[in-house]
Chain length 205, copies 2
C-alpha cells in the first residue's frame, strides 16, 4: 500500500493542511462508527490517519470537538447547553427552547439538518451518537437538575425527545404549519413542555 | 429497451406476482420521490411499472396503502389514528401515546425504525412524506379537535413533534434510560404533553 494514498488520489501535496484535516476526519468517522465515541481515542484515530496525536489536538481540540467536526455539525450542542445552563431553574425550559430554535433558525440550521439526517440514516453511527448524548451532552444538562442521577437523566431524555422531534418536524420534514410559524411562537409552546420534563412533578399526570 | 428488463435481470418469469409487486413498488418509490404524494397518481405509477392501474388497486388498495407499502412500513399510521380517534377527548393524549408506544414496542417496531431511518435520510422523499402527513394523517387526527383548521393543524404538529422525537430517542438512537423504561412509564409521561398540545390552552405558558 502506498504510504499516503489519499494525498495522491486527490492530487494534493502530502502535508497540505486541508489534506491532513480531511485524513483525520475520515479516520475519525471510521473509528467512531466502528468503536463508538468512548473507545475511539485520539491516539487510535491518529494512528489510522498516520499523523501525530498532537496534530489532531492542534487542528480540532478535544475528542468531543473532533466528533462534532467529523459529524460536520456547524455547532457543538454541548457548548450550547453550557451557554444556557446558568440562570433561574424555573426558566430553564425557555432558555433551552430559545437557544435550540435560535440556532436551528439561524444559517447554521442547514448544516444541522444535514448532520441530523446523516446520523439518523446510518445505523452504524448509532452507538457513537448514543454515547455522545449519554456521556457528553446529558451530564452537562443534568447539572442544572434535582433528583437522583437516573431521574435527572430520564428528565433530560424526555426534553431531548421533544427537541429532536421539533427538529424533525420543523426543519427536516418541514411540516406545515409548524415549519412556518415564527420562532417565538414555537418557543412559547415547547418551553413549558421542556420545563415540565426537567423540573415538574414526574409522578403527576 | 427490452420489454421486461427487471424480470430477466432477476431471473423470474414475467408475470410472476412477486415480480409484479416489486415492479409496482419500485415505480411507486420513484414517482413519489419525483412528484410527491399528491401528484403521483396510481395511473402514472401504473404507466411507469407497465401494468394496468386495476392491478395496483388489486395488489395494494388505495394510493395511501400503496405509499405505506412503498415506504416498507409494517403499519399504516392513518389506520392507527383512526383506531384511537373515537372516545373521550380528554383521554386522546393517552390513547395516542399508548397506541404509538404499543406499535413501536411490538415486533413491527423494527420495520418502523427502518422506515423512519430511510425516510428521514432521503431528502428526496421529504415532499412526499410532508404531503402524506399534511393531507392523509393530520386531517384524520384533527377531526377529534376543536378550533379553526390552522389551530387544529398546529396542535397536531406539536403532538407529532413529541411522538417523532420519542421514536428517535427511544427506538432509533436508543438513548438510555428512555430506551429501557417500561412502555407504561413512557406513556405516563408523554400522554399529558400530547393532551396539552391537542386540547389544552395554547395561549397560556
Amino acid at each position: 500500500m502506498p504510504e499516503q494514498p489519499q494525498a495522491s488520489q486527490r492530487g494534493r501535496r502530502p502535508g497540505d493542511p486541508a489534506e491532513t484535516r480531511d485524513n483525520i476526519l475520515d479516520a475519525a468517522r471510521g473509528l467512531f462508527a466502528e468503536a463508538g465515541f468512548d473507545k475511539a481515542s485520539i491516539r487510535r484515530i491518529a494512528a489510522r490517519a498516520q499523523v501525530d496525536p498532537a496534530l489532531i489536538h492542534h487542528h480540532f481540540g478535544t475528542k468531543q470537538q473532533l466528533f462534532i467536526a467529523a459529524m460536520r455539525a456547524p455547532v457543538n450542542p454541548v457548548d450550547i447547553v453550557k451557554g444556557i445552563i446558568d440562570g433561574p431553574p424555573s426558566e430553564l425550559g425557555h432558555r433551552i427552547a430559545e437557544a435550540f430554535v435560535g440556532v436551528w433558525d439561524s444559517p447554521a440550521g442547514t448544516g444541522l439538518a444535514h448532520t441530523l439526517r446523516a446520523v439518523l440514516a446510518q445505523d452504524g453511527m448509532t452507538i457513537a451518537i448514543r454515547e455522545f448524548v449519554n456521556h457528553q451532552l446529558v451530564p452537562v444538562l443534568i447539572t442544572a437538575l434535582d433528583g437522583d442521577e437516573q431521574e435527572r437523566r430520564f428528565r433530560a431524555n424526555l426534553a431531548l425527545s421533544q427537541l429532536l422531534g421539533l427538529a424533525v418536524t420543523r426543519y427536516l420534514v418541514r411540516i406545515e404549519p409548524i415549519a412556518d410559524v415564527p420562532a417565538t411562537e414555537v418557543v412559547r409552546h415547547i418551553a413549558p413542555t421542556l420545563q415540565h420534563y426537567l423540573t415538574g412533578p414526574l409522578d403527576a399526570d
